[in-house]
């Protein structure tokens, strides 16, 4: 099936500012943008935070196809958006006719699996301090020169760290404050400077090894 055929069959249009789905909404369909821009955002402490802006060719909402979990973010049309709209039923039809799309999805899935497994590794640690360290490591691993990296600036706040650790911010904040006092980290409104990644690596590795012994 050609793309035009797909549009007439599965196409959906959204007006500027129109919400496509909202965070925590149950749903089992996903979208491929054909035209326009879509904002992906989350509400954090009553404030809307833009996570990403997607354009033609991008896929969003794909998690719904496998997970019976509600949406993890809100998608809003930023201008006139046309998107192909898929669900479990028409998934195979779409993928068979659009190998690029299928491949793209494959790549997205591999990244998601990695991220989720990485997160799981943090959660499996049993000490909050080590969890925080491992979160620092996880976030720095995205840096291209990670292996040589001694210090790093992470665009994250205590809330974000707490989220990754699966702990309350009340537990995480004192640890960060203490580390700030002794110069391990520097805390800013929108970022955290980690001054000694090597320490973090050592601590996490020791703790993981301890567990396996």
């Amino acid at each position: 099936m050609q793309l035009e055929g797909l549009t007439s069959k599965f196409g959906k249009e959204f007006q500027p500012g129109q919400i496509i789905f909202c965070e925590f909404e149950p749903g089992d369909d996903f979208y491929l943008i054909q035209k326009g821009k879509v904002k992906i955002s989350k509400i954090v402490k009553d404030k809307e935070k833009t996570m990403d802006i997607l354009e033609a060719g991008d896929i969003f909402g794909e998690m719904a196809i496998l997970e019976e979990q509600p949406r993890s973010a809100t998608a809003t049309a930023m201008d006139n958006v046309t998107a192909l709209h898929f669900n479990r039923e028409n998934f195979v039809t779409l993928m068979s006719s659009q190998p690029q799309l299928a491949f793209k999805l494959l790549v997205i899935f591999t990244k998601r699996i990695y991220d989720a497994r990485r997160r799981l590794k943090i959660l499996l640690l049993d000490d909050v301090q080590v969890k925080v360290c491992d979160t620092f490591l996880m976030l720095s691993e995205k840096e291209p020169n990670y292996k040589e990296l001694k210090e790093v600036v992470l665009r994250i706040t205590a809330d974000g760290i707490a989220h990754w650790c699966g702990e309350s911010v009340e537990k995480v904040q004192p640890i960060l404050s203490h580390w700030a006092k002794i110069g391990k980290v520097e805390l800013y409104a929108d970022r955290i400077h980690v001054n000694n990644l090597t320490d973090c690596r050592r601590l996490v590795a020791a703790r993981r090894k301890e567990k396996s012994d």
């Binding site: 965070e23 997970e67 509600p70 491949f103 999805l105 899935f109 699996i113 989720a116 567990k211």
Partner: protein
């Protein structure tokens, strides 16, 4: 671009180590290869055989992240090696293969997600329904009206039976009337806590009123319509009726208070700008008397409530129209309070007074139904029926009409 190349490995050699970075994808043709990985908590080593014809190294190559296992050759092996470009080209021609991999990957992803959720357990987010409502209210607070409308509607669509449904419904109602977010309302967490502690039955919206009105009116005392509902109509059903209505164009007369703790709250709210909605605790005057009365009412202190409402009715000087409107509200509440107290005559007098004085009140239908209830209690079925009949005939057709019809049918059986 050429096709994949064949490569041979001697037994005992390593194709790649865990933590290596590499972009090649492999398929085992001949020989024996095992993948050695660590369990996620690092406690055990996992070994698995690669099957002939099976791809390996795919995920880390595509995702460009470190290898998650070591690929060790146990018996001399021949493998097909793909560069990422070759692998992509191969996938383009073999959609079925991609679909198969998607299936495998999605299964893995689901498994990992399940584990993450398990581990997060209680420390994770609350129920999705609660989070959805929270999202809706955040939109409302930040004046993203269309987003809020969408989210409230989605909430009511999926969670109409939720304990928070009437809250969502009231919010949607306020929003449809272009009212600002009711800042004086209890937070969702507080409401949940109250439900948890058994202070709230099902879903009445709990309005935290200003000043000393902390104990939340009808979360303790039944909302007015429960009086009626105890006679054959369950409160839940009434709740459901609310939920049918979340249309965008809810008429002003609609949904006054069936699910509201304090009957007049919705009607008073629109008139109060947020600043006024939170008067200082020290404030006196008619508004304070009225709220004090509601507070006493909520604690079933009928006599104290009567006193407050009576005092409110004696106020003759008003700063503005809003203040004047408290006379109407106080009179209505006084009728309710006397009824609760068991003083049917006084209640009847107040409601009759109310009906005469405020024939255009939003609470008119309700007042008439209270009178009908008193007639019935006094054994005067005919008069009760005729009053219900009157309510049924009054426009607009709303929940009260439906309720009056039910009562009428019941009495006529």
């Amino acid at each position: 671009m050429g096709g994949p190349t064949l490569r041979t490995y001697k037994a005992g050699s390593i194709i790649y180590f865990i933590e290596d970075r590499g972009t090649e994808v492999y398929v085992l043709q001949k020989g024996r290869i095992i993948l050695i990985s660590n369990s996620l908590d690092n406690s055990t080593e996992i070994k698995e055989d690669v099957q002939k014809g099976e791809f390996f190294g795919v995920k880390s190559a595509l995702g460009m992240y470190p290898r998650e296992e070591t690929a060790q050759v146990l018996a001399d092996a021949v493998v097909l090696v793909f560069t990422p470009q070759m692998f992509e080209a191969f996938c383009m021609k073999n959609t079925r293969l991609v679909l198969q991999m998607l299936k495998v990957f999605s299964g893995q992803l689901r498994k990992v997600h399940r584990k993450v959720r398990e581990l997060l357990g209680e420390s994770g987010q609350q129920e999705n329904s609660v989070e959805l409502l929270r999202t809706a209210e955040s939109f409302y607070k930040s004046n993203e009206i269309e987003n809020a409308r969408y989210a409230f509607t989605v909430f009511l669509k999926h969670y109409s039976g939720s304990k928070l449904a009437s809250r969502a419904n009231s919010m949607l109602n306020l929003l449809s009337k272009n009212q600002p977010y009711p800042v004086e309302m209890d937070s969702i967490d507080l409401v949940l806590e109250k439900i948890h502690n058994g202070e709230m039955e099902s879903g009445p919206v709990s309005f935290q009123m200003p000043g000393n009105f902390g104990s939340t009116p009808a979360t303790v005392e039944a909302p007015p319509l429960e009086d009626f509902s105890s006679r054959g109509d369950s409160h839940d059903e009434m709740g459901d009726m609310d939920i049918e209505i979340p249309d965008m164009d809810i008429p002003d007369m609609d949904l006054p208070d069936m699910d509201m703790p304090t009957p007049d709250f919705t009607s008073s709210l629109p008139k109060m700008p947020p600043a006024q909605a939170a008067p200082k605790p020290a404030a006196t005057g008619i508004a304070q008397l009225y709220y004090d009365g509601l507070n006493e009412f909520s604690q079933k202190n009928w006599d104290a409530a009567v006193e407050k409402f009576e005092s409110a009715l004696k106020v003759t000087k008003f700063e503005n129209e809003t203040e004047a409107s408290f006379i109407e509200k106080s009179l209505f509440e006084l009728g309710r309070t006397y009824l609760k107290k068991g003083d049917k005559n006084a209640s009847m007098n107040r409601f009759s007074d109310f009906v005469k004085k405020y024939p255009r009140s939003q609470n008119l239908k309700k007042a008439l139904m209270y009178v009908a209830e008193i007639y019935e209690k006094n054994g005067d079925k005919q008069r009760a029926i005729s009053l219900y009949n009157k309510v049924v005939a009054m426009p607009p057709r709303d929940k009260e009409s439906a309720f009056a019809k039910q009562q009428m049918d019941r009495l006529m059986k």
